[in-house]
Amino acid sequence: MHRFANPNVFLRLSNRIMPWSTGVMIASLVAGLVFALGASPADYQQGESVRIMYVHVPAAWMALFIYICLAGASAVALIWKHPLADLAAKASSPVGACFTFIALATGALWGKPMWGAWWVWDARLTSMLILFFLYLGHMALANAFEDSERGAKSAAILALVGVINIPIIKFSVDWWNTLHQPASVVRMGGPSIHPSMLTPLLLMAIAFTAYYVTVVILRLRGEILARKIRALRMIRVQAESKGESGPYLREI
């Protein structure tokens, strides 16, 4: 674990992962879209609008999955203070917020023709909206302080507190009467979704996961490089202040 916390080891490792994650993302996205938009049947009661599912459901899964990653990284950052964990959390939350927004937006577009309402305040939809606000809060808090470490620490605590929302989202449809239907794939007794429709769904889920991996690696690289540049500037300022000229006179 400590080995991967070293930014240089991570940079080398990420160079090896990047081509693979990008390739998997493009391949499964193309295959998934072909199946989702053409090579899969319409639903027996929802007709063609069922195709919204192939974006909506993987996006909602990613929203939960990324939050779990975010909370895991935050716990590692708080307990073991690994240098990369805070950066990984900071890199993940905007991606998670985007997926949550996609799930909410496609859900509204799907809800209007099927249910007859863009939005209802049932337990599943409300808890998902709370997840969106948790992501936004995390992003705001991580950038709220001059001292980035203080910001990272408060954001990590928020991320851990928000974990309680994850089982609520997952089980809301089982615990309470909701308008949203219960789970179709991750459920007791196996998927209640025909294999011809499960294929595009899983392909899209793989594509979204590979996208997350790729984007987080890119964002982490950017953060690491930004910190290196900052550290180099600090060193330069310190070196100059030891010499005769004051640090404030020079442009950094």
């Binding site: 049947p41 027996y44 929802q46 069922v50 249910w115 007859g116 179709s184 209640s192 979704i193 429709m197």
Partner: protein, 177 residues
């Protein structure tokens, strides 16, 4: 943080008498805090249980003796052969059932596309003095089964079709075809 982390250099040893390191203490604090958080969450959710349901089934409404005029949502299946639309009128009458109790519903407005007999619906409105539910809004609820129309036909033919089983009771287990 600026605290001195000399414990990172030690390999974790099985010695039990070792004083608690900062990391270990932080781990325990986080674990205990998470434990309290989940306990608090469970208590709040169980206290709010009744307020978090989106709709009541006809049985629950009759048991709770909901007052006429009180705004509620009822959910259930549209009973087979119960939908009546008088000619020249926009009002639709149908009965919502949970297969135990049945409540008549009157609705004026546009029904969702998925509305049909045997389909799950949620109606928003209130009971009148005669025990008829005056709906101001009707939403269609679909189940978690997705399949092509041919497969649905085949299931219906072979008699393994369980339409609407999900509305029976509180999200009862719905055997997937």
């Amino acid at each position: 943080m600026s605290e001195n982390e000399n414990d990172t250099l030690q390999t974790p040893s099985p010695k039990k008498s070792r004083p608690m390191t900062r990391k270990r203490r932080r781990l325990y604090i986080v674990l205990i805090a998470m434990g309290f958080l989940f306990a608090a969450g469970a208590l709040v959710l169980s206290a709010l249980r009744d307020n978090l349901v989106f709709f009541y089934s006809p049985t629950e409404i009759l048991e709770r003796e909901i007052q006429p005029g009180q705004r509620i949502r009822i959910g259930g299946l549209v009973e087979e052969a119960s939908v009546v639309q008088a000619s020249g009128e926009v009002s639709v009458m149908f009965r919502v059932t949970d297969l135990t109790q049945t409540i008549p519903v009157v609705f004026t407005g546009v029904l969702p596309d998925l509305f049909r007999e045997g389909q799950g619906v949620i109606a928003e409105g209130s009971l009148n003095e005669d025990g008829v539910f005056q709906a101001t809004n009707v939403l269609a609820k679909h189940d978690e089964n997705y399949m092509p129309p041919e497969v649905a036909e085949a299931l219906k033919k072979s008699g393994r079709w369980q339409e609407g089983a999900e509305m029976n009771g509180e999200n009862g287990e719905n055997a997937a075809p």
